[in-house]
């Protein structure tokens, strides 16, 4: 599905990595490793199409993702360091906007159900800014429950989550992979994930 060939990324005037090649197929998980500053975030953003790599190709089903554009976005869900939430809107409204922009209609029920599953039943109507760190992250994670697309990119998704939430997220990832989804993630925390096929990519020590 996803093929990376000879990828090279440069930030500022430093080359982060070069000649990076790997591929991923449906129903698999890729865990990206590397010390602080190795370029994990940069790589994930490049794959999501947010960063223009210096050279090399990123292909989805054999097509360059730059050519695919919105087609590729339809298959992708990217959760980065930022929450990607409007702090003035409630969790409910945030999810609703996401769903609409992604082009499918969700019922009130579905959204509420997703928020309940991430343990925010009581905070549905609070504006996101009034939530704690971990609760904000949970709202962002609720997107993974609403008509999720096939390919998930998760940049340190476990940050700020308490133990219960960490277990919940691992389970969500495992189910997704088992159902033929693809997950690419990076985390410094030690988390046990048992998904069909786990690929490990290491970015060089710097």
């Amino acid at each position: 599905m996803l093929d990376i060939t000879n990828l090279e990324c440069v930030r500022g005037d430093r080359q982060l990595f070069a000649d990076l090649s790997f591929s991923m197929k449906a129903g698999s998980l890729l865990h990206l490793h590397g010390p602080n500053g190795a370029g994990k975030t940069t790589l994930l953003r490049a794959i999501a199409g947010l960063v223009l790599p210096e050279s090399g190709d990123i292909r989805w089903n054999g097509e360059l993702i730059r050519k695919l554009g919105e087609e590729f976005n339809r298959e992708l869900l990217y959760l980065g360091h930022h929450y990607g939430l409007k702090f003035e809107l409630s969790g409910y409204e945030n999810l609703r906007v996401f769903a609409n922009l992604s082009g499918f209609d969700v019922s009130e029920r579905e959204v509420e159900e997703a928020l309940r599953q991430v343990g925010l039943a009581r905070c549905v109507e609070l504006p996101v800014k009034a939530l704690s760190q971990g609760q904000k992250r949970r709202v962002a994670l609720a997107r993974l429950l609403l008509h999720p697309p096939r390919f998930w990119i998760l940049d340190e998704p476990f940050t700020a989550l308490d133990v219960k939430a960490v277990t919940m997220l691992t389970e969500m990832i495992q189910t997704h992979v088992a159902n033929g989804g693809m997950v690419m993630l990076t985390t410094h925390q030690h988390v046990e994930i048992e998904a069909g096929e786990i690929q490990h990519v290491h970015l060089g020590t710097h």
Binding site: L52, R74, H82, G84, L85, E93, N100, L101
Partner: protein, 222 residues
């Protein structure tokens, strides 16, 4: 497609309504700037009438520009802009939605307020009418051009001032034709030429600005 456009417009309007003071403050800024001039210049009525069009238009320019920095900045900081780039919709469309919302919030109120301010400067009925029409044609252009500047300076320190440096020169033609049309009608001349030029500028901006802003956003978000 249109559903997505509408969704964005609605989202931004909801956000603005959460902070109703936002909408009010742009208008108040406009009103205060216009009212500062009689204070700075003195109470000579003839002098005031002859500068009315210029002052109101400059104030509209500044008010629209001031609210520009907010156009993408909030979305950039909290990461929702990143998510908008990843939505399966043409980015230019999303940008257009944001621009429309921006105009509804910060342009339209100015248009509606302008006759009142014009009265303050002693403009006649015809001139007041012309002032409103030019603002109606001109303020969307301000939002459209401004979006390019706002997208280019996203996340830069001192973006607020930089955006004015980039955008004000491009605003100047709008200012000249807008104020020119009102002045023409103050002295009783026709202003059709000015108006059709402003219409042309509006169409041009409508065709180009969303694309240019979308391209600028892609650059800035990286």
């Amino acid at each position: 497609m249109l559903a997505a456009l509408w969704c964005i417009v609605q989202r931004d309007l909801t956000l603005a309504m959460r902070h109703r003071s936002d909408v009010l403050t742009t208008v108040f800024f406009f009103v205060i700037v216009v009212s500062l001039f009689p204070l700075g210049v003195g109470p000579d009525t003839e002098l005031l009438r002859s500068m009315a069009a210029g002052v109101v238009w400059v104030a509209a320019l500044l008010a629209s520009m001031l609210s520009l920095t907010r156009l993408f900045a909030d979305d950039y900081v909290d990461g929702t802009l990143e998510q908008l780039l990843l939505v399966p919709q043409p980015l230019a469309l999303m940008v257009l939605g944001k621009i429309v919302a921006h105009w509804l919030i910060s342009g339209l109120p100015l248009v509606l307020m302008s006759p009142l301010l014009g009265l303050q400067f002693g403009l006649s009925g015809d001139a007041l009418w012309m002032l409103m029409v030019t603002l109606l044609l001109g303020t969307p252009v301000l939002s459209l051009i401004g979006a390019i500047g706002a997208a280019l300076t996203l996340g830069l320190r001192g973006g607020g001032v930089l955006v004015s440096l980039l955008v004000l020169p491009l605003y100047i033609p709008v200012l000249i034709f807008g104020a020119g049309a009102v002045e023409a009608s103050v002295v009783g001349m026709g202003a059709d030429g000015h108006l059709s030029l402003m219409g042309a500028i509006l169409v041009l901006a409508l065709l180009l600005a969303p694309w240019a802003s979308a391209a600028a956003l892609r650059i800035s978000v990286e």
